[in-house]
């Protein structure tokens, strides 16, 4: 069991590393989106500071969204997914490994770079600290929820945009609690409540989505 978890984790990480470009990219994409804003909006410092946490979270969300497909699509196309489904290992465990691999590749870089970008956009120190925690708690939820979305759409021949439609509304709670927490921190209010909600979302999603995704995959493949 543990071995199965580890080998799938390792496999997905190797696959990402092998395309070295791939590994850099979710981060670069994230940075690029954040950079677009001053370009599209203009560089007024007060406005930028005000909207910094929002921008960073939205960029995190989009960069997760853009890379979701990799969780299952290629596995579906080359038949690996069938083999996992008929394997002698519990599917939800394999899916958990895939979710975590996806987070390491796309979420972790955002957690590390996000606060830095916020600094450049002029966010206050308290704000940045809270931003970091919200990213740490929130990004795995994005990968987890996303896995269900991909599992549902992977059987469709071109599900790319259906996927966004399904997943974005489900991402909104994370976005709301996170930006609430950062706003509160920046204004000097306590942040315990939204952080607690984020943690709850994290636990809930990590424990439930692998089952949901596994059920969805069985449906998609059949």
């Amino acid at each position: 069991m543990l071995q199965a978890f580890l080998i799938i984790l390792q496999r997905d990480l190797i696959l990402a590393i092998r395309h070295r470009a791939e590994l850099m990219n979710p981060m670069l994409f994230f940075v690029l989106v954040v950079v677009l804003f001053p370009l599209g909006i203009g560089a007024e410092a007060t406005i930028l500071e005000r909207i910094a946490p929002g921008i960073i979270w939205i960029a995190a969300l989009l960069s997760a969204l853009l890379s979701l497909d990799r969780i299952f699509r290629t596995d579906m196309e080359d038949g690996s997914l069938e083999q996992m489904l008929i394997s002698a290992q519990p599917m939800s465990l394999l899916i958990l490994a895939k979710i975590i691999a996806h987070w390491i590749i796309t979420g972790l870089p955002v957690v590390l770079v996000g606060p830095l970008l916020a600094l450049f956009l002029g966010l206050s120190a308290e704000g940045i600290e809270t931003l970091f925690f919200t990213l740490l708690l929130g990004t795995p939820v994005l990968s987890a929820i996303g896995s269900v979305g991909v599992a549902l759409t992977v059987g469709l021949r071109r599900g790319g945009v259906v996927l966004s439609l399904l997943v974005l509304p489900l991402y909104v709670p994370v976005l709301i609690f996170a930006s609430q927490a950062v706003d509160a921190a920046a204004a000097g209010f306590p942040t315990a409540a939204p952080i607690a909600m984020l943690s709850a979302l994290l636990l809930l999603s990590l424990s439930l989505t692998p089952w949901a995704a596994s059920a969805a995959l069985k449906m998609s493949v059949s």
Partner: protein
Amino acid sequence: MIMRFIYQLGSPPYFYALSGRLLPWLSGLCFILFAAGLYGGLVLAPADYQQGDSFRIIYIHVPAAWMSLFVYMIMAFSGAMALIWRIKIAEIILINSAHIGAVFTFLALVTGSIWGKPMWGTWWVWDARLTSELLLLFLYLGIIALYSAIDDKRKAARAVAILALVGVVNIPIIHYSVEWWSTLHQGPTVTKFDKPSIDTRMLIPLLLMAFAYKFLYAIVVLLRARNDLLWRERRSQWVATLFSKEGA
């Protein structure tokens, strides 16, 4: 006992027969409720001391908004039944509710925004409740899109059931948004546990309307479900006998 009832309800011919017998009653009740609610709301209830007569849109808006959440809960519940017990009827209820729920949500959005113009001075503000209601609309549309994107309708129903269950997290967020964030939108006035902060002469028609909406939903969903059921089971024995009986 309950399980047996559920399973019995899950049998297509039984469901078809039962719903056929229920429909006339439901329609009658629904009509009476609507008549009473509208009369009470538009004629009997006094004008609001602040808003004048424009508050009367409440009788459309609030029940529609409640229904938008209620229908989703029904869908999630049927989704669970469809997945756990593989009950075909639950699948059918689920998918046929999506369109109705979307319509209610749309209605709540439109009436809310019509009401917002005199109250807040704009059609739309980006506050938490309004925005999250908009997202609920997207959730409904996502469900419909997913269902129509999958060719095999039995597969599609299962997919949609999973999605509906996962989407349930959004419901409490919409419901509590007014409490969690200070927003422009009305706080809970009716659904508070202690004494509702609204005149009873305004309240009673509102409740009547709420029930009228529920019956309306029940009627529409049953009609659609019966249709869908006949189509899906078109080659089964009971449908054949049904039609030969009707034909004869």
